[in-house]
């Protein structure tokens, strides 16, 4: 695990988000970058192709976005790569890519104002790409049905801005989780509209002030556990079966909660993204939380596992704002750096 090869690719633009495109064939590999040029105020989504020898990342196709991308996800829809992006202006864009060369085929979008009224919304795409959930700081939760030519949109909930949501993640075809201020998590079920099914407020530590959840992940094999990362280097898991007791995996508040003794904290600034690490086959008992990867504002990319020492994969001088683990080659990780660059790690 320790041996990793890292390649950096300067972009000359700010990288807002980065994802792997679901692999079309074993030979072609593509990454999706959401870029923003501060000088010209132009933002775009670009598909870059990765070639192994010599190792290079070359832009192939570009689509210019009307506004800055705040959230980016990829999936497959009817055997076609699908990219979904929500923008800072509140619009939602779905880009269908060609299944042979990953060029942009078609685009469907919802204009700004239809979904969210304030900047910064988060989006998640259901596996198979049938439905999207978008949440925003304005407290609105929308479900968007995906079709190749049209989108159907309905509002599931509106808190009127009294509660803000910053992250969303599907758990099954009817359930999803959201995260927000005060380390709060909500569990939603489409069959039970009108409010969250379950609510969790992270106030396990009396001394420290609380923070924001930036990212959530749910493992397909453990739908009852919600993994969340947020402020103060906090990573915790919320098990629906033991609702008011979070399992803290890392962070400033670690070590104080009961049953969470001696937990290493790998960073103490914002954890921007968290994902289950599909590379490590955990052979530990099913009661333990599966290993996960995090990236942080203080430039750390690391793997954390309950009860183990964290493994640092990358320590940069600048923030790592997003990352993605390749589903088909889980040893490959792509991440975006604050200083206008993208890095690709290959773990041996």
């Amino acid at each position: 695990m320790a041996a990793t090869a890292m390649h950096k690719f300067p972009q000359d633009q700010y990288v807002d988000a980065v994802r792997w495109l679901p692999q079309l064939s074993p030979l072609d590999r593509f990454a999706v970058l959401a870029l923003f040029d501060f000088d010209s105020d132009a933002s775009s989504i670009q598909i870059h192709s990765l070639t192994p020898n010599p190792f290079s990342l070359q832009p192939q196709f570009s689509w210019s976005s009307p506004s800055r991308i705040s959230s980016l996800k990829t999936s497959l829809f009817l055997q076609k790569p699908l990219i979904v992006a929500s923008t800072a202006a509140g619009s939602l864009h779905l880009l269908f890519a060609d299944s042979s060369d990953a060029s942009f085929d078609s685009e469907v979008s919802l204009p700004e104002g239809t979904l969210h009224s304030v900047p910064a919304s988060s989006v998640d795409l259901m596996d198979g790409g049938v439905e999207c959930v978008t949440v925003g700081e304005d407290g609105k939760i929308n479900l968007v049905g995906v079709g190749e030519s049209n989108l159907s949109c309905r509002r599931l909930f509106d808190s009127g801005g009294l509660v803000s949501y910053t992250a969303a993640r599907w758990a099954s075809s009817v359930e999803f989780a959201t995260g927000g201020y005060g380390f709060s998590l909500q569990w939603w079920d489409q069959r039970k509209p009108g409010g969250p099914v379950s609510n969790f407020k992270g106030n396990w530590d009396k001394k420290l002030s609380s923070g924001i959840v930036h990212s959530i992940d749910i493992h397909p094999s453990r739908k009852h556990t919600c993994l969340a990362g947020g402020s103060l280097g906090t990573v915790f898991a919320w098990d629906l079966r033991w609702q008011q007791q979070p399992i803290i995996l890392s962070g400033a508040g670690a070590g104080t909660g009961s049953g969470n003794t001696m937990i290493q904290s790998i960073c103490d600034s914002e954890v921007w993204e968290v994902q289950y690490d599909r590379c490590i086959k955990s052979n530990t008992s099913s009661t333990r939380i599966l290993p996960s990867m995090i990236c942080s504002e203080d430039g750390i990319l690391a793997v954390i596992e309950q009860g183990e020492e964290p493994v640092e994969l990358l320590a940069e001088a600048c923030a790592i704002n997003s990352f993605d683990i390749d589903r088909h080659n889980p040893s490959d990780v792509i991440c975006s750096l604050e200083w206008e660059a993208v890095a690709i790690l290959t773990r041996q």
């Binding site: 501060f38 700081e137 927000g180 600034s269």
Partner: protein
Amino acid sequence: MPSDTVGNGALVPLTGDLPTVYPLHHGLASPICSLSISWSRGNTLHLSLFSATAAKVVEVKLTSEDPEIPDVHWRRIAYGSVAPFALLQSRRSSISALLKTPSPYHSDWWENVLQYSKEIGSLLGGSKLPPSPIIDDSKTIVKRDEEPTSLKAAWELIEIFYVDKQSQSWLPERLVDWLADYDSLLTSTHETIHGKLVDFQKELVNIQVIEDDPRYWELLSSALSVGWLDIVVKMLRLHGSYQLDQLSNREESELGVVLQTHHLVFQEREKLPPPRDMEHHIVLKEGVDPINSWCQESVTAERGATVERSTAVSSVSFSLVNGRDCIARIAALAGVLENGLVETVATLISKMPRFHPESVGKLGECYKSKPDFIKSWEKWRSQITKLDCSPFWIQCDNQQTVEGLRNLLQIMLGNTDSLCMATCYWIELYISHFLYIRPFTMGIESMCSLAQKCIQLKPQSNTHRLEGLMVGILEENTEVVLAECSREFGPWLVAHAIELLTAGSEQAEVLLHEQRYNLGGISIVELHRLVYAQILSSHALTWQIAPIYLTSCVKQGMGLLENLLYRQSIQHNNVLLKNIEICRLYELDHISSNIMKHGHKGAGVFWLQQAQDSSCLDRIAQQLFDSVGKSISDESFKQWEGMIELLGSESKPAGGLEFLHKYRDFKKSLQKVSVGKSTEIARQAVGSLMLVLLTLL
């Protein structure tokens, strides 16, 4: 700006040219009735324009772009230099803490600075090895894998003179290397050897007989004068005498004339000679076999004293088969002699002793110790003198080759006039002095006077931006060097190169770190860091780096950092969080709590909690209390629930919110009562109600 500025209330009287006018595209319909100008972050201006119906805020950037390096590259340099700079600062403070003296200078401090310098230098465009072509093109004389920049040239020049203590003794050789790398830069403003070589190379394919071209010899001597041995040897090998077919081409014309005039003589025999009037009989002695062989002539060319190449002719013998062959072979012999001379000179050039720590695949023999170098240098010189006096020059009949080669020898012998003729620019002449006239030099004082001499010999009408820097360094005037860096290369170079300037000299350290009254009590070092931080602050992507430089400024740094953080516009949550992170790092709590106060209702409460503003929270709680008191339907209570959840963390109950929190518990229990009808739950509900009432009291 009014035209009568002088003495009429203007802070700084305008002098010189009229101010430049830049149009501003704001897109508002005229007339503009009001305009307000304020400073935004860094060097940007905030312009608020008001017309009768609309208003607009425009940001104006007050920086100019470098002609050589685009903004994007500047940002990359800025990002890359953060880590080395921070590392050097932390080493400096840890060393001075250890030694308990303010000055960290002890014997090996410069090694730290050198490491820093190398790291920064690599950012400015690495000297990456080009992928070597499979087939080496013999006609490519000048190779260039990457366009060098003046910035890197300036950085290396400062490094050579101020930091690298190990290379002090072979300073001249490092300057030779430096010129080889960066002579192409000077081409932009002057005629240089590099420029001439590039021009010549373009025409090379069209030149038939290269040694007949006077520019060939001219360039050979130029390249030799600045020590580009590889290029010289490669060019010498293009000489016609190496290619026999080309040689015969050259000789063809002369030979043709001879053959035509005496064509009878050179007729080939096809039968026995005709019978003559008298037949001479040679009576053989008994017992002797008839001799049956052609007469032989042997020509021996003496070897030049130092010719070592086996192909060079040492002794040539051939038999005279017939007339045509004879002439051709005589010509070939002359060609071989010519080639021998060319090769001798090429060998001498490639064996030139250099006082250099390591040979990096270049020609010339490197010596690390001075005595060895001096010994072999003298030997080498004597070989040249010997060759210069040898009789072969007279025997060789290609006058152009002889003159060209002898001129090369003159350069190697350090003939001032030849060197002056061969070089174009004063720096080139200066370097050639180190190579051939004063190879064993020298202290920096004599270097300076030599430079002045060279400038006099090669006066120039215009100057290159590197020139001023070079003169400043040679004059050992730190202030001039700084001024040149700042004027020609901008604040990045000054802020980072200051570390190099103080690397070895206590005096420079005192000069640059001394607090100055005319700078408002700050030192020169701090001033330049502040200026650089200001540039960084002007861009949305680089301002996050500025705190690193600001915090290394003792006097004004923190004040400017606070100012910078206050001026950040906050549109996105993530940017805000990044700001707060900086505040956390530098313990600026009061600023972060001010930044936090923005946003939506729910978000607002959260940020107020973060900012620990209890008075604000109490007021909000009071309002909430009032609105809840009016009446809330079950439907809207769903919305409020999350908010109350957020507000009423048990850890920090905020005023009346505590009530709401308990009210929520009561509401919940009540709902359960209506559903479940269990006495236990009902009791809980009553308990909750009691709590609510208690809080109200």
